[in-house]
Assembly symmetry: C2
Homo-oligomer: 118 residues x 2
């Protein structure tokens, strides 16, 4: 599983957003969903995904519930009220950040004196 170098710092927010949207998801499902939504551009590594889930759980932002489906164990995660609120804040912050980034990455405005002079 390869991934874009740019996810760094955004992973937690992406996970919170997906859980806010879907109420209940398991780890594997989250990684599939991110791949789908990104047109295969972003592929979460499990080594990154699961530790983030455990950390969010330890911080009381989500709760886990294990179920056995088709003979395989699945751990469903869902946001606590604090998790819902953090998702709201983080998504908003990240949206603002991407707007800022856009401004920085915009081609430099080439102000031509000839326009002003003509």
């Amino acid at each position: 599983m390869a991934s874009s170098e740019f996810i760094k710092g955004t992973l937690k927010t992406i996970i919170l957003k997906l859980l806010a949207e879907n109420k209940q998801m398991y780890g594997y499902e989250i990684s599939q969903k991110v791949e789908e939504l990104s047109g295969s551009e972003i592929k979460l590594t499990y080594g990154a995904l699961y530790p983030v889930l455990y950390k969010l759980e330890s911080e009381g932002l989500l709760v886990a519930e294990t179920e056995v489906v088709d003979g395989r164990a699945r751990k469903y995660y869902s946001l606590t009220p604090q998790g819902v609120e953090l998702a709201r804040v983080k998504v908003s912050e990240l949206q603002k950040f991407t707007e800022t980034l856009k401004n920085i990455l915009l081609p430099a405005p080439k102000i031509s004196l000839e326009i002003w002079g003509s």
Copy 2:
């Protein structure tokens, strides 16, 4: 100097972009420019900025030239041809990534059966 957690992974690209745009900049100037362009949202820490500049230099992506201005030393950096090319590629990749992120962060489309049924 505090900073948004989201810069992680984008710092190198931001620096390359600014240098591609301005031909010649020194470290302090880069940090000021990022603060200005981001409306003070992003504040680079020097502990992050300078090591990135040294690494880019060691990779042959930029060259440094020290000048003394007003009794203080300044190190001006400018891109090599390889640096110019990498800036082009990285900016393009990051723009694509922000578009992808936007799609993920978009509020979930709420498809109502009632619309289809009415």
